[in-house]
């Protein structure tokens, strides 16, 4: 076989077979699938793919790779957006999709332990009958292991936080193949350094997450969702800012500009007005929701909002949020054959209007097809820049736009990435944003993975 690293050879494959039997593949198709995510980044296939089913298997595979200095790339659902799963140096990809067992639900203490390959939708289907749910919802049906590894968030972050706030404990296979459990079940169990949170967001560069214990929530007594159009972007964003500043515990507050509304109207067969729009969802007791709605309606009216259109039936709400979650695909469908660069800046809420409006001017001046949307309640928004990958000048223009956007956000004390992560696509931005912290991160990486075999080339270059 021809591999990117000479260390991947038939002998290695034989050793892997001894652990996982025929669940190892070197076929071109399988490798190709595992070398790319859902973004515009070019694929970098691994040399081999292993489909693990137990923690023990992961540990054995990592030990084999560590013994030979072969890179290991964990793979969840492959929905990340910054080249996270690209096997830049080849090696063995460990696909966790078959580790999809829900191990134990603890309704009393409101937690659940799952294998890393369980997806967020699978978990919520399992929990529904128990009146419980897990709130973190990236648009794609990502794996919980991948979500922890990228410290993902979603539309519920304002009220429920991100993966950072909802992972209680992890079972991790370290770079030498040893297995650790980061903390005991007790909720507040952070004896010693917060290792759980060190692995949350480490993008597979410090170890493979095999199992997770997650925090659960009761399905709220009352849920109410609404769609509300605004005369312009500014008034929509002002409504968001005032809502957050007033401390109303909204569950979801999403902004979609008129270009994005057009895209989802077409893709999800809606007939909403082509205006900047906010999607809201309120959670709480019957009474609490009524109060939240009153407050927010007041704020929106003062900002010049149109009428709230309510989605009260569960199926209407589901359709609404599915459409929101599909918005990335709706953007891609605006231009068949194109790919998208999804930007991800996040700024302090007080600077949000300024940042979005300047960005919008930039889009208009540059003449890009680039809808704006986002989980604006925490200052995070995306521009889905749709581009033709065969047109090098267009790609360059889109990338230059993203660079300007990142610099704009940094100048406003913001960050280049609110939720998608660094992968290798944003490695240089990380240096601009946090140059001196990168050397600390590198020291941590070297301490935990001295051979640099865990997903090499991501977050920090060694």
């Amino acid at each position: 076989m021809t591999a990117k690293t000479a260390r991947v050879n038939d002998d290695l494959i034989r050793a892997l077979r001894a652990v996982v039997g025929d669940r190892v593949s070197t076929s071109a198709v399988v490798r190709e699938q595992h070398g790319k995510d859902e973004s515009y980044h070019p694929p970098h296939p691994p040399d081999a793919v292993v489909f693990a089913t137990t923690t023990r298997e992961i540990s054995d595979v990592v030990k084999i790779c560590a013994g030979r200095g072969v890179p290991v790339v964990p793979f969840g659902a492959g929905t990340s957006l910054e080249g996270h799963v690209a096997a830049l140096k080849g090696g063995v990809c460990i696909d966790l999709a078959r580790m999809n067992a829900i191990l134990s639900v603890n309704a009393g203490d409101m937690d659940v332990t799952v294998q890393a390959g369980v997806t967020r939708k699978q978990l919520n289907e399992h929990l529904r009958d128990m009146g419980l749910f897990f709130p973190i919802d990236p648009g794609a049906d990502a794996s919980l292991g991948g979500m922890a590894a990228t410290r993902a968030s979603g539309t519920n972050a304002v009220r429920y936080g991100t993966m950072r706030d909802n992972v209680l404990a992890l079972t991790v296979v370290l770079a030498d193949g040893r297995v650790i459990r980061t903390s005991r079940r007790a909720r507040k169990s952070s004896a010693g350094y917060d290792l759980t949170r060190l692995f949350v967001g480490s993008e597979g560069t410090l170890g493979v997450i095999a199992e997770l214990t997650l925090r659960l929530y009761g399905i709220p007594e009352a849920i109410s969702a609404a769609v509300c159009p605004f005369p312009d972007l500014k008034s929509a964003v002002e409504t968001v800012i005032l809502t957050i500043q007033s401390g109303v515990p909204v569950a979801r507050i999403e902004l979609l500009d008129e270009v994005q509304m057009d895209a989802i109207n077409r893709y999800s067969k809606f007939d909403y007005p082509l205006q900047p729009t906010l999607f809201f969802e309120f959670h709480g007791s019957e009474r609490g929701v009524v109060e939240q709605v009153e407050t927010v309606k007041g704020i929106a009216a003062d900002c010049g909002a149109g009428d709230f259109r309510w989605a009260t039936k569960p199926e209407d709400r589901n359709r609404l949020w599915q459409a929101r979650h599909d918005s990335y695909y709706a953007c891609l469908a605006l231009r068949p054959g194109a790919k998208a660069l999804a930007t991800d800046v996040c700024v302090p809420i007080s600077r949000l209007a300024e940042c979005i409006l300047e960005t919008r001017r930039d889009i208009d001046q540059t003449g890009l097809l680039a809808p704006i949307l986002g989980h604006v309640g925490d200052g995070n928004f995306h521009v889905v820049v749709v581009m033709d990958m065969n047109d090098a000048t267009e790609v360059a223009r889109c990338k230059a736009f993203n660079e300007r956007l990142v610099m704009r956000a940094l100048a406003m004390d913001g960050t280049c990435t609110g939720e998608h992560g660094i992968g290798y696509g944003k490695i240089d931005f990380l240096t601009v944003e946090h140059g001196d912290a990168v050397s600390v991160m590198r020291a941590i990486k070297m301490a935990l993975d001295p051979q640099n075999i865990m997903n090499p080339g991501k977050i920090v270059r060694v």
Partner: protein, 411 residues
């Protein structure tokens, strides 16, 4: 008394740490020194007194964050927030009195380094969860910053989370940024009287699991309740289970009514209004109801147990009987403060065995220096975790000059 360096700014902190690393001289990092008794007794060396790095930096109430120098007194921060009807939602405990010092002497850096939290922990988390970013000097003698002023970011390893709760063993924070939020307009506390501990745990779970947005739930057995300054609590003459609701006025009243309805039949029910509520939750937060407050050196030793809430009472009651102690429960039963008659080994083997069986861990919060030098203060780590901890310490502080041994021997 150890000698102390007193830097005036971050540059001097850098100089001090570089020098210490060069000489291999251990530094004891002091914010304002109110929690010196927390953690293992540090190996002797020089003190690094940060009290010169004080003052609120950036604070615009509508930005919902504050930046302050590390040793800014909590009292100063709380006063500034109060003026704007805001608060640190994580309600950090003031452990000064528990360690025999005065109230209000802690610093923000210390609160974050010890990852303090208060009764609202069950709803909003601890210091770590509200800590957005910092500037610091690592034990390598390098200045670095992480995080910032936004509420979410995924820029690489979460260094803020690592520093929070690291007790000054990884880096010296010089400036910190943390979330601030509007203070609730109104606070009410529903009291259920006379519940045994196990029944109280069930009641608290019921309340916390309800739709009424309970922000805290604590249980004071009879002795602890009797020490409260709040007359309704002290005068109850029995155990008191306290459930807190906060928010806009009408909503709080409504939720209070609903809670009383929900808990009807469990025990006699009372209600505290805002002022009494504040006083009670402060007593619970600062663990001052344990009966050996205010610098009583011959006083009892205090453990803090983290347990799954339903397992708490069983473990705590057995330990209290065995070690001549008493317990107080916060976080719906997930946190147990256990005060025991002082003994040379602080009963650590029994405490740790009971807590391990319950699936939790224990920290020896208050005991004499010699006891804390002998007895593991923090839950001993399994071998692999211990090695990982040591590697992280090594990455930040290869010469081992920052608070060496404060958390674990040799770390």
């Amino acid at each position: 008394m150890t000698e102390t360096l007193k830097p005036k700014d971050a540059a001097q902190v850098l100089e001090a740490v570089k020098w210490a690393a060069g000489e291999g001289t251990p530094l004891e990092i002091l914010g304002r020194g109110s929690k010196r008794g927390f953690g293992r007794a540090v190996e002797p060396g020089l003190g690094l007194d940060l009290s010169g790095l004080s003052g609120i930096g950036r604070y615009e109430p509508n930005e919902l964050f504050m930046t302050a120098f590390a040793a800014t007194p909590m009292a100063e921060i709380e006063a500034a927030l109060r003026q704007n009807n805001q608060q640190m939602a994580f309600e950090p405990a003031d452990l000064g009195p528990l360690f025999g010092g005065d109230e209000d002497r802690g610093s923000i850096g210390g609160a974050i380094a010890c990852n303090l939290a208060g009764p609202r922990r069950v709803k909003v988390g601890a210091a770590r969860d509200h800590f957005l970013g910092f500037s610091a000097v690592s034990g390598r003698g390098e200045v670095f910053k992480s995080g910032g002023t936004v509420v979410k970011n995924v820029t690489g390893f979460d260094l803020s989370k690592l520093l929070a709760g690291s007790f000054g063993t990884l880096a010296v924070m010089t400036e910190v940024t943390f979330k601030v939020l509007p203070a609730p307009e109104k606070t009410r506390t529903v009291l259920v009287l006379g519940l045994p501990d196990a029944a109280a745990a069930m009641t608290m779970a019921r309340a916390l699991g309800s739709a009424h947005e309970v922000s805290s739930a604590a249980h004071l057995p009879k002795a602890a309740a009797g020490r409260s300054q709040v007359s309704y609590v002290a005068g109850a003459g029995r155990a008191v289970t306290a459930i807190r609701v906060e928010g806009p006025g009408p909503s709080v009243e409504h939720r209070c009514r609903a809670l009383k309805e929900l808990l009807k039949g469990k025990g006699e029910i009372e209600e505290l209004h805002s002022e009494n509520s504040q006083a009670l939750w402060r007593e619970i937060r600062d663990a001052t109801l344990l009966g050996s407050a205010n610098g009583d050196p011959g006083g009892r030793q205090v453990w803090r147990l983290s347990v799954p809430p339903m397992a708490g009472p069983g473990a705590a009651e057995a330990l209290a009987r065995d070690l001549a102690g008493e317990a107080l429960y916060d976080w719906g039963g997930g946190l147990v403060w256990l005060a025991i008659a002082a003994r040379p080994d602080a009963g650590h083997e029994k405490v740790r065995a009971a807590v391990a069986a319950a699936g939790g861990h224990a920290t020896l919060v208050r005991a004499a220096d010699e006891v804390r030098a002998r007895v593991p203060v923090f839950e001993p780590q399994a071998a692999r975790l211990g090695q990982l901890t040591a590697r992280i310490k090594q990455a930040f502080d290869p010469k081992g000059v920052l608070n060496p041994g404060r958390m674990y021997e040799g770390v």
